[in-house]
Symmetry: C2
Subunit: 143 residues, 2 copies
DNA sequence: GTTTTTGCAAACCATTTGCAGGGTC
DNA sequence: GACCCTGCAAATGGTTTGCAAAAAC
């Protein structure tokens, strides 16, 4: 059960397992791809779960530190969050349904190493995000 | 002269070549790496160039459409702009001095193609940003 | 002259914060 | 009981917008 992973990560790190936090985790698990803070706020209100806006933000912050959630910068400038395992990896996100797939390293470490070599930069961090249409959305919106 | 590139791009696209816009272009060219809107606002005030905050934002927006400036999302969540040529490419940015180097495609199209193959996604867009220390900043800040 | 652009200030919107009350260990 | 967490509402900070005056063509 995935819930447990998040819950365990939570109190292993010494955070209290409160009702509000469980609600947020629940909300996140109820979505399957990338989601925005506004999505969670709306879901919470709709499902009458106890989780104020500020708490949602604070909980996401914690989850981000725990590396079970990651924040993405969408091409249009807005932000999204996505649930994911730890370890170095990247995502491809469907621009229509927000479903996402974890890509692992997908060869980027090698690319980064080559770039470091070529430019003389010491590269500490690289970010890769890919956007497009997932298989099922391709059939719906052929463009 | 680089100024001309920006200026020409500007009126080729049917925009008026105003004093304020020339100031913004001038400000951008006076910086050599990535810069923030706040940088430009400060520079403008300091140099007494006519360019109000709103105009700076509006001009950057135009320059972005003209593909001579690109907006970057920094790892800390803030934004930066960078001057660059058109065509598909990525950057490596020094986290200390903001100097940046254009990386061209750097093998990413191939990576994207492989990911498309593997996941079934149709990939329309990918973004890559690398951060680290440029050669000269490495000598200053060894860490 | 007509149309675009500017500047200013106000509006916006997502996110953060202060603080008093409530919940958890 | 001590400390952590929550909710609310207010503050924030970057970005956008409305509008009348000014500049460009």
């Amino acid at each position: 059960m995935v819930t447990e992973d998040l819950v365990r990560a939570f109190d292993d790190a010494g955070f209290r397992l409160t009702g509000a936090r469980q609600s947020v985790i629940d909300l996140i698990l109820s979505r399957n791809g990338a989601f925005t803070t506004a999505d969670l706020v709306d879901d919470a209100r709709r499902r009458r779960l106890p989780a104020a806006r500020a708490t949602i933000f604070r909980t996401l912050e914690v989850l981000e530190q725990l590396k079970v959630v990651e924040r993405l910068d969408l091409p249009n400038g807005s932000h999204s969050y996505i649930r994911c395992g730890s370890g170095h990896h990247h995502h491809v996100v469907c621009r229509r349904c927000a479903r996402s797939v974890d890509l692992g390293d997908c060869g980027m470490s090698a690319v980064a190493a080559e770039v470091a070599q070529r430019t003389g930069f010491r590269i500490d961090l690289h970010r890769v995000e890919m956007f497009g249409l997932c298989p099922s959305c391709q059939t719906v919106v052929p463009t």
